[in-house]
Structures are given as structure tokens and as C-alpha cells.
């Protein structure tokens, strides 16, 4: 579904991502792990088109590397950005409408709204509230539901568990698991390695913009992960 070939991101003299290769099939969940500054968020920004990148990004066989953000969204890339970034002064309903900003099928949009409100009933209860009045967990649910409103094939999730209570994190990961089971490809950036590894099909550990480990979560025991985070282990 999604394939990255030698993708690099450069900010001035700093190379945030270096020749990254990645492949994720339909329904796969790839966890990008690594310390701060490893290039995880830059990888997501490169896939979504929010930062310029070199290399090739293929979505369902089509090269989307040169497409602007809106065209990538139309083809099936969606981002739930770090820090949720919901629109605090808009209502929950309006936030969901924003997620479907590029869609023209009003009926489909209504159906999807119903679906995500039934999956996150708490959002349905707060539908006309300003999103800024939601709790952190509810805001994260809204951020994911908003991203899903564009009917993506690939969901890019940046730190969905940041600052949330374990119970809420578990609920959010259950939901991500459900989307994955329905065939959605998920690229998940997480600091919470244990949680990410529970759902991931493949784990990719980044360090200084390069892949320092790639493999199944089972191969990556807790202690090793710590080593990788500290930079002791290579490929």
C-alpha cells in the first residue's frame, strides 16, 4: 500500500531523515520508534507532503512524491498530528467537517460522521461543544476521527498516547487496532514503545534519521529496545 524508497528530509544543513526505505501493506501497522530528533515526525511530514523530501513515496502503486498535500489526502493519506492540534474554538461537529474538507460526497460524509460518533460515543455527546472544552483523551479521539473523515488508506499517527492516562491510551489503541483490522495501513510514531509494539506488525527504530533496527516486535525485547534508544545496538 505504502512504500518509501530512499526518502530523505533536510532542514538547511540538518538531515532529519536519511535514505529511509519502508514498506507497509494494507492493514499493516508499522511503529516508528526512536528518541527525540530521530526523524520520526519528519518521516510522517514527508509522507503527508508537509515538508519537502527527496526519494520516492508510492501509494497503491502511484508515485505521490511530487504531489501537494491536498492531492495526497485525496489519494488516501491522512495525518493525526502530534499534540492533537484540534481546532479548539470550533465544535466537535465542525472539527469533523474539517476532516472531510476535501470531500464532495455529502452522504458519505454523513455516514462516516455517524460511524465515528458511534465508535467514540463521548464525541457524540459533546457534538456541539467547542473542542477546546474536551478532555485530553477526547481531543485525541477527535484528532483520529477527524483524520479518518477523509477516508484514508494510510493513517499517519504521531504520538497518540502523549500525556494521556493509561486507560485512555488503551482505548485509543483498541480503536487503532480496529481500524487496522478493517484494512487501514497505519504508520505510528510512538514514545510509548511497549504499547506500540503490542499492535505493530513491524517495528522500525530510527536514530539520527537512519533506521537502526527493523523487525517484528517479538524480536525486539524490552531490554534491547532500551539499548537501541541509547544507541548501543545497530542493525
Amino acid at each position: 500500500m505504502l512504500r518509501l524508497e530512499t526518502v530523505s528530509v533536510q532542514y538547511g544543513p540538518v538531515r532529519a531523515v536519511r535514505d529511509l526505505d519502508l514498506a507497509a501493506g494494507a492493514g499493516a501497522l508499522i511503529a516508528l520508534l526512536g528518541p527525540n530528533g530521530a526523524g520520526k515526525t519528519s518521516t510522517i511530514a514527508a509522507i503527508s507532503g508537509l515538508v519537502p523530501a527527496t526519494g520516492r513515496i508510492m501509494l497503491a502503486g502511484e508515485d505521490i512524491s511530487r504531489l501537494p498535500v491536498e492531492d495526497r489526502i485525496k489519494r488516501g493519506i491522512a495525518v493525526a498530528p502530534e499534540g492533537r492540534r484540534i481546532f479548539a474554538n470550533l465544535t466537535v461537529a465542525e472539527n469533523l467537517r474539517m476532516g472531510a474538507a476535501l470531500r464532495r460526497d455529502a452522504t458519505g460524509v454523513r455516514q462516516d460522521t455517524d460511524r465515528y460518533l458511534s465508535l467514540f460515543p463521548v464525541l457524540g455527546e459533546r457534538i456541539n461543544q467547542h473542542a477546546g472544552t474536551l478532555s485530553g483523551g477526547e481531543q485525541q479521539m477527535l484528532a483520529i476521527a477527524r483524520a479518518m473523515m477523509s477516508r484514508p488508506k494510510v493513517l499517519l499517527l504521531d504520538e497518540p498516547s502523549l500525556g494521556l492516562a493509561p486507560l485512555i491510551v488503551a482505548r485509543i489503541f483498541d480503536f487503532i487496532g480496529q481500524l487496522k483490522a478493517e484494512g487501514l495501513t497505519v504508520i505510528l510514531v510512538e514514545q510509548n514503545a511497549a504499547q506500540a509494539m503490542r499492535f505493530a506488525d513491524q517495528v522500525c527504530v530510527l536514530a539520527s534519521g537512519r533506521v537502526s533496527y527493523r523487525g517484528s516486535p517479538a524480536d525486539l525485547a524490552g531490554a534491547d529496545v532500551m539499548k537501541l534508544y541509547l544507541g548501543d545496538a545497530g542493525m
Binding site: L50, E70, N89, A101, L102, I127, N128
Partner: protein, 371 residues
């Protein structure tokens, strides 16, 4: 759970209207105090009060026009008076009788000294000129956000004002352009003000308006969901310019005389203060600010020239209205930067009140927003 994005889904608070229905109903509610005040003035007030009310309505239209761009994009616009001036001068040049033009602008270029149009094509052409200049300036301004856009809008005002002043053959320079046919009175201005309020509310609630408001809150989040903020800022700038231009056209045919200083800093600061007072983010706020500040400033102007209360006459306090205008901006920015209404419309308050009376509600609107 059957819920509709446009018709606000079933939940604690149900709003059964599509966005345009909500905009029209909400706009009508915001216009209601204007209509009530306007009708009372029309029926019982003397001519000088009607004139003051007419001027307040023109200011209200300018404030609402300003809100269309600033309120939705979050960018302070200091150049809107240039569009008011362009509309007014456009109308003056195109519709002033030839006999008056021989006195005022006998050497007007492009054969305009010999043009006298009926008010309708004249107004349409004046609006077209405003639209074209807005479209050209939008190419630059929409690329910018924040303080850069504000500074460019101010530079735009300076350029247009300078053209008004230094092209006397067309604009009559620093002198007043007189002889414009006085075609309208308070009833027409009242209708126009209501129409402008509805237009602004329709834009605010439209998908584009909503997307622009979203991008003003969080540009990065808007980029991530594919919102074209630049195009939306362009549309808002042009619509705002057209509304301000319309206010200028109406001003010209109401007062019969215009001059460049009327469309410069004083008007910019007055209308900006009105918008800041009421709340930039909502059309109802723009209306409330315009109504309240018009009344307060009129009261202050009376005090300015000295009043007699219980046999005691207060001294004249010249310049008090200017001080008051500045103080409104300072106090608002210090105490309530979001203005009186914040980002809520009048119908939002009505809805909140309605919900608060509904037993068993599950509404946490006012709970801590930072959780």
C-alpha cells in the same frame, strides 16, 4: 444515532438547521437590535438623530466588512477604509451630474468628465472597480499572514490615500468632492446594513469560512488536512473589500460630499475599535461593537462640548472622544482581548440559554478547556 454534519447531530444540543439556515437565522438575530433601533429612530426621532443613525449604520457596514476578513482569518486589517474610499469615489465620479462635474473635475482623465451614469450601473461599476483592485491586492496579501499581512494592509491604505490626495484631476485632491446626488436615506441604509450582516454571517458559516477560521486557529493543523488557507484568505479579502466598497458607495449617495480624509486613519481606528470592542471573531460582535460605540461616542461628543447638569455646567473637554476611542482599544486589549462576545454569535448564547433550561443536559461547555 443518525447525525448530520451540517445539521448538527443529535446529542445534548440539537441544531436542526443546515449551515446556511443557521447563518440566516443567526444573522437575522444579530440584525434585530439594529432593525429595532433603526425603526424607532425612523418613527420618532428628529432629522439630526436620523442623520447620526445613518452614519452609524454606514460605520456598522464597514465594521462588518472588516469582520469578514479579520474575524475569519485572524489577521488585523488596517486598509479597509481604502476600499470604502474607492467605492465612494467610484460612485461620485460615475454618477455626479455633468453640470457639477464641470465645476469639480472638469479635466478628469479617460473621458470621465463627460460620464453621468444612472445610480444602478454607477454602483455596479464602482463595485467592479473595488473588486478588481481587491483581487489584484489579494494576490499579494493572501500570501501573508499575521503581522506581515497587517503591515501590507496599512501600506495599501497609504497608497490609495496618496492617490486620492495627489490626483486632483480625478479625485479633487484634498478638497471635498461635492455635488454627488443624494439618493438614499435611513430606510435604505437600514436595509443595506441588514443585508451586509446576513452576507457576513453566510460567509462565516460557509464551508470556506469555517475552514478559514480553522486555519486561523492552527495553520499547521489546517495544512495537514489540506485546507488551502491562501485561497480562502483571498476570497475573504475580496468579499470584505466589496462590503466596504458598498458602504462607501452608500455613504457617497447619502452625504453628497466626500473627501480623502474621511477614508483614512480616523475611520480605520474608529471601525477597528468597534470591532475589537464587540469581538472580532463573530458577526454579532461586530454589530454589537458598532452599536455600542456609536451610542457611547455620541454621548461623549455631547459631554465634550460641555453639559449642564442640575444648574452646573461642565467645562468643554475637547478631544474627549478621541481619548475615549483610544481607551476602548487599550482597555479591551488589556481586559478582554476577545471582545464582548468572544467567538460566539448571538444565537450561540440563545442556544446555550435554551440548553441550560433543558433538564438532564450533558453539556460541559464551560468546563476547564485546558484538560
Amino acid at each position: 444515532m443518525k447525525q448530520d454534519l451540517d445539521t448538527a447531530p443529535a446529542g445534548a444540543v440539537a441544531a436542526p438547521l443546515p449551515w446556511w439556515g443557521r447563518a440566516l437565522a443567526g444573522g437575522a438575530l444579530a440584525a434585530l437590535p439594529v432593525i429595532v433601533i433603526g425603526l424607532i429612530v425612523l418613527m420618532v426621532a428628529p432629522g439630526w438623530v436620523q442623520n447620526l443613525t445613518a452614519m452609524a449604520l454606514i460605520n456598522l457596514m464597514i465594521v462588518v466588512g472588516l469582520q469578514i476578513y479579520s474575524g475569519n482569518s485572524g489577521i488585523v486589517h488596517l486598509g479597509h477604509s481604502a476600499f470604502v474610499g474607492l467605492g465612494a469615489y467610484g460612485m461620485a465620479i460615475l454618477t455626479t451630474p455633468l453640470v457639477m462635474k464641470k465645476l469639480s473635475i472638469p479635466n478628469a482623465p479617460f473621458g470621465l468628465a463627460g460620464v453621468e451614469l444612472h445610480w444602478l450601473p454607477g454602483a455596479a461599476l464602482a463595485l467592479l472597480v473595488v473588486g478588481v483592485i481587491a483581487w489584484i491586492s489579494a494576490r499579494v496579501i493572501a500570501r501573508l499572514s499575521g503581522i506581515a499581512a497587517t503591515i501590507v494592509s496599512l501600506a495599501f491604505l497609504m497608497v490609495i490615500h496618496s492617490v486620492f490626495l495627489h490626483w486632483p484631476a480625478l479625485f479633487k485632491g484634498n478638497q471635498g468632492f461635492f455635488g454627488i446626488p443624494k439618493l438614499i436615506g435611513l430606510p435604505e441604509l437600514l436595509l443595506a446594513a441588514c443585508a451586509v450582516i446576513l452576507i457576513a454571517r453566510l460567509f462565516r458559516e460557509s464551508p470556506g469560512g469555517l475552514q478559514l477560521r480553522a486555519s486561523a486557529q492552527d495553520q499547521k493543523a489546517a495544512d495537514a488536512i489540506g485546507i488551502d488557507s491562501r485561497a480562502l484568505r483571498r476570497h475573504a479579502w475580496i468579499l470584505s473589500a466589496l462590503v466596504c466598497g458598498l458602504a462607501g458607495i452608500l455613504f457617497a449617495v447619502f452625504s453628497g460630499t466626500i473627501s480623502p480624509r474621511l477614508f483614512f486613519f480616523q475611520q480605520v481606528m474608529l471601525t477597528l475599535a468597534m470591532l475589537i470592542l464587540g469581538g472580532m471573531a463573530s458577526v454579532s460582535g461586530a454589530v454589537a461593537g458598532a452599536v455600542i460605540l456609536s451610542l457611547v461616542l455620541e454621548l461623549i461628543r455631547n459631554i465634550e462640548s460641555g453639559v449642564t447638569i442640575g444648574g452646573v455646567t461642565t467645562p468643554a473637554l475637547l478631544g474627549l472622544s478621541g481619548v475615549a476611542l483610544g481607551m476602548v482599544i487599550v482597555l479591551c486589549m488589556a481586559l478582554r482581548p476577545q471582545g464582548l462576545l468572544g467567538h460566539r454569535e448571538a444565537d450561540d448564547f440563545l442556544e446555550k440559554w435554551r440548553v441550560s433550561r433543558t433538564p438532564g443536559r450533558n453539556d460541559r461547555r464551560d468546563e476547564n478547556a485546558t484538560r
